[in-house]
Assembly symmetry: C2
Homo-oligomer: 469 residues x 2
């Protein structure tokens, strides 16, 4: 027998296999005998050798096939460490509020309302209608569908006093979620290396967006009445910043709503410093005992860059938000957003518009306010009854969250670990501070699943607190 021949056939097949996909069928014995001018026995010997090496699987009467690799090698990606260099600033703080813990845990950490608070029927009907319409198949303009832009503008125009010119559709840019709008606003107004004033505490997503864009945040202390005006004025003067990011309505995390007078005072300061107010109206649809009254409706000088999202109130699957801005900054924002995302799915835009223009939307919002109120009060009662060391500085007039202060000595990281071990997930207030936190806080979401468990959650938190003596 000629072992040299079968080695030659096997070598040739090894090369062939190296380039083939797993499961590919090898050339037939007949083809191989012809190609290499050898006997079928020689071919069989070569195939047995490859089979012993684990490269080939032979199915009698069918043929020989390339095996999928049985073992997964441990890869060495360490070369990437040199290629990537030191980590950029955008480490994911997102994980806390975005995580989906086990259904057995009581969840008070989420940033989203529970499914039972969504207009489920309207959302399903709107998506089904969008599936039948043109929006399912055409590309929309980069600024968004005209009808949806008109709706966003009209929402502000309804609240615009007669002495101001109301915004119009051409001032509106539709976004695939407000997070992209934060980055665009911070890059357009402050720019990489620039400074931006923010409330402290403020929304962690804004802190994350600023880090990614390379903007330095300057914290301005804020409370239930809104930001400290003296500190705001001083921060503008000292830093030369040309922008202030804030949530005047049901701020995340504190739930604070600025009075109209306080809002006007902030706007006056912003105007006096030739600056922008980035007004993040994230909780517009979540009023409980009051309504949202955006400052953007009281400015026609181009000082307010306004951000409103429908994602939280319509459905997490309808990722649609809008920026409203006037003057040159509008062009800059549009160019920035085109470079980032080009345009927003027309199907989602059509579905969002459909939901918010149904008569059922207004009655949904009224029912939502009642349900949020019941949940908020339930959680306030539970915290008051079971967590004696905790302080609620203000019961929020809207929004989804309760901001609870704990005694100064609390080891927050340990408390959160211990609470989760007992079955309740809460969010550390530290994530909402752009600099060192000024106290120990928890943000408790009262819009999550199972409000019936709020009492139990507070008891478990109290037990975890008790561990710290």
């Amino acid at each position: 027998m000629n072992h040299g021949s079968s080695d030659r056939v096997a070598d040739d097949l090894r090369t062939w296999i190296a380039a083939a996909a797993p499961g590919a069928r090898l050339p037939s014995t007949r083809e191989l005998t012809v190609r290499h001018a050898v006997s079928p026995v020689t071919v069989q010997r070569a195939l047995r050798a490859l089979s012993a090496e684990g490269l080939v699987e032979t199915r009698p009467g069918v043929g020989a096939f390339v095996r999928a690799p049985r073992t997964v090698r441990a890869h060495d990606y360490s070369w990437q460490t040199a290629a990537l260099g030191a980590a950029g600033p955008a480490r994911s703080a997102a994980s806390a509020a975005l995580r989906t813990p086990s259904a057995e845990l009581i969840s008070l950490h989420s940033g989203y309302p529970d499914r039972e608070l969504l207009p489920e029927r309207a959302v399903r009907a709107a998506l089904a209608r969008a599936a039948r319409g043109d929006a399912a198949l055409v590309r929309t303009p980069s600024a968004g569908l005209l009808e949806l832009r008109t709706w966003f503008a009209a929402e502000l125009a309804e609240q615009t006093p007669a002495r101001y010119t109301a915004p119009s559709a051409r001032d509106v840019i539709v976004l695939p979620g407000s997070q992209l709008g934060l980055g665009a606003a911070f890059r357009s107004i402050a720019g990489p290396g620039g400074s931006l004033l923010v409330e402290s505490p403020t929304y962690w997503g804004a802190i994350l967006a600023a880090a990614q864009v390379g903007v330095s945040l300057v914290p301005v202390p804020t409370g239930p009445a809104g930001p400290d005006l003296v500190a705001l004025d001083r921060a503008f003067t000292e830093t030369g910043a040309r922008g202030f990011y804030a949530q005047p309505t049901y701020a995340n995390p504190t739930g604070a709503q600025w009075s109209q007078a306080h809002g006007e005072a902030v706007l006056d300061l912003v105007r006096a410093h030739g600056a922008f107010l980035v007004e993040d109206d994230w909780a517009h649809d979540f009023g409980i005992t009051t309504h949202a009254a955006p400052l953007a409706a009281r400015d026609d000088g181009g000082h307010v860059v306004y951000l409103r999202s429908l994602t939280k109130s319509v459905s997490p699957a309808i990722r649609v938000a809008a920026l409203v801005a006037r003057g040159p900054v509008h062009e800059r924002l549009l160019a920035d957003l085109e470079a980032q995302s080009m345009y927003v799915s027309g199907a989602l835009q059509a579905a969002a518009l459909d939901v918010v223009t149904q008569p059922a939307w207004q009655s949904h919002l009224r029912g939502l306010a009642r349900r949020l109120r019941a949940r908020r009060d339930l959680l306030v009662d539970a915290v008051t009854a079971h967590l004696p060391g905790a302080t609620i500085e203000a019961v929020p007039p809207g929004g989804l969250n309760l901001w609870v202060r704990l005694p100064d000595g609390t080891d927050l990281a340990r408390l959160i670990r211990d609470a989760e071990a007992r079955g309740v997930v809460v969010a550390s207030g530290d994530d909402w501070f752009p600099a060192e936190p000024t106290g120990r806080y928890l943000r408790l979401n009262f819009a999550g699943p199972d409000p019936g468990a709020f009492g139990r959650a507070a008891e478990l938190l109290a037990e975890a607190m008790g561990e710290q003596g």
Copy 2:
């Protein structure tokens, strides 16, 4: 009569109106008489004065209402110029390929396939099913739906030779469109102030994304066979860049597909320089005479960051794409994308997965290849017959575009203007060059509406060329 009283009432109402919304109803005459202790005649006189000033509209028997402002003031936004400073780099080059011109013009400029080339029935059915499922109401994980990630991984795994470990679902991140992935990849790999090698010409969206991220592009000449290997090696050495962005399959704009040997040679260079290849497989589903064979299927060392979009082949409304990357760069990309956009609409992810896993998808792709071939050949014939000065360096084996070289002396801007005046819209090749263009090119899309007009379009282009003597 007491004019002082009516002035007092009018003054009070002016203050009230300034804070009121247009259309708001004024207090009734009865209320005003009581509040100001005046007669109804005095109240009427005040209302007439306000009406004459255009502040109030009186509807007899109904009441008086705040008028909407009749004139829109010309606003002065010049303060923004100082606040915003010099323009950043992200000026919108997007406008050319994204614009929607009048339907009467022949459009050869678009970057998107015509609606008749989309799987319309499958898209509508998929969106309708998504409307009924959980995906319409729940938030999805930030990396994407597991089933869709598994599909994207399996697409690569099918083409992975046995000697490599295939990618898995955990290597995949779902994106709301590939444009966001370009920015994330450039920021993660090169970072602001860093350098990135690119083919020249290359996709304008990549040039735009790099400018926004603050990454400097280093052009490497490319042709129908792919990038010049000597120039690529030299560019890596001279710049120390750790990344190369390329479209190995049906490159936009040239339509070039690298041979397997050329792809392996590029990968070897990338590995030798400890660098990343950002492989933009934008036209995966647009093979005409060949199939896409991604390089990402032939690398398990983490050197390829792979980008694939379904937006163009499924529907512009289904904005879904994916990044596939292994090693630490995967974590960095995920953190970057969370900071940018948080997560992708579950309804769109479910609909995309639905379309591409239907048996009809494979037959759609086969029919699409036939239709693209007929359109491509029609346009090649039209250009050859009517534009004698034009050169087609290579007939593309896939993609949506024909890259046509014009004589060197051509005034391209004027040609495009003159062509549009005659009724045909084309894209200037200049937009695809990261530096000065090396020739006068047009990119002609053969996947747009009305292929029957290709001959006429070429004639009109020839007329416009003729203007230049």
